[in-house]
Symmetry: C2
Subunit: 135 residues, 2 copies
DNA sequence: TTTAATGATACTAATATAGTATTATTAAAA
DNA sequence: TTTTAATAATACTATATTAGTATCATTAAA
């Protein structure tokens, strides 16, 4: 069972790299690909999605590339996870099923919800900057 | 992102059903299928796996079926999840990648590990009996 | 020996994940 | 204004995982 998908992984690596190269504002996909050794076209799509999601700004044309729209200190691991993997919802899975049919009152739902929220709170403390500092 | 797979879901439902029918010791797959409306052959394999994993005992031949080997109060949601989905390991995914190359010292690893353990502890409190009581 | 159950194993279908290819668009610079 | 170096959009392919089915063997009670 994997908590973090490859998209999230690549996205995080790219963002950490970008946060490290602070002098240049705009960074091209090629630069990231060369340093981080990630599959180019795949990463392109990932960065495009980050741009669409409002994390990055894309700059078309010559001298173009990507830059941060949200500052890296404000980008949380959970933000990236949500973009590529959807919301982390511990309850959702059990609720969709009929294990607990009493959706409104079920104490299990409540319990799982609390667990999920606790996890989320902790994960939200992890940002791109805090990750890049660890390296 | 789904925390609980269909195998786990079906297994839990079957086990909850079995725990409810306490008078009969041995229960057939057909009984469960009829009451819980689960795909028969699929559920069969799931119960077989539960038997192999030591949760249930299987009884072959006429008047056969499945019975609990581990009492339902001692069967935790996490046990079932582990059987069908493998260990819940928050760290594994990030560690396999190169996000954090310093496997031994990385504080993120530590942090994620702690988060994972906390979650695990809470999940371990949920058993088949506690689930069947909620219904 | 028949019957009613599970066991083992191989197969198929659907979905999700990972990655590639192609063509269009944009904007700087020659 | 044309070239060039970048991203945008979209469609495609390959692989892995998940979900489910089918077949035949084994077992034990009646």
């Amino acid at each position: 069972m994997n908590f973090i998908s490859r998209d999230t992984d690549y996205a995080v690596r790219a963002l950490i790299f970008m946060a490290g190269v602070s002098k240049k504002e705009i960074i091209t996909v090629d630069e990231i690909v060369k340093k981080e050794r990630l599959p180019e076209r795949f990463l392109r799509r990932i960065l495009q999605r980050l741009a669409k999601s409002g994390i990055l700004t894309s700059h078309k044309g010559k001298k173009g590339g990507f830059s941060f729209f949200v500052p890296p200190a404000a980008i949380r691991l959970t933000d990236i996870m949500e973009i590529f993997q959807g919301k982390i919802d511990l309850t959702n899975c059990l609720l969709k099923s009929k294990v607990c049919p009493n959706v409104k009152k079920c104490p299990l739902r409540k319990k799982l919800k609390n667990l999920g929220q606790g996890l989320d709170t902790e994960l939200k403390k992890i940002t791109i900057v805090s990750l890049s500092k660890e390296r």
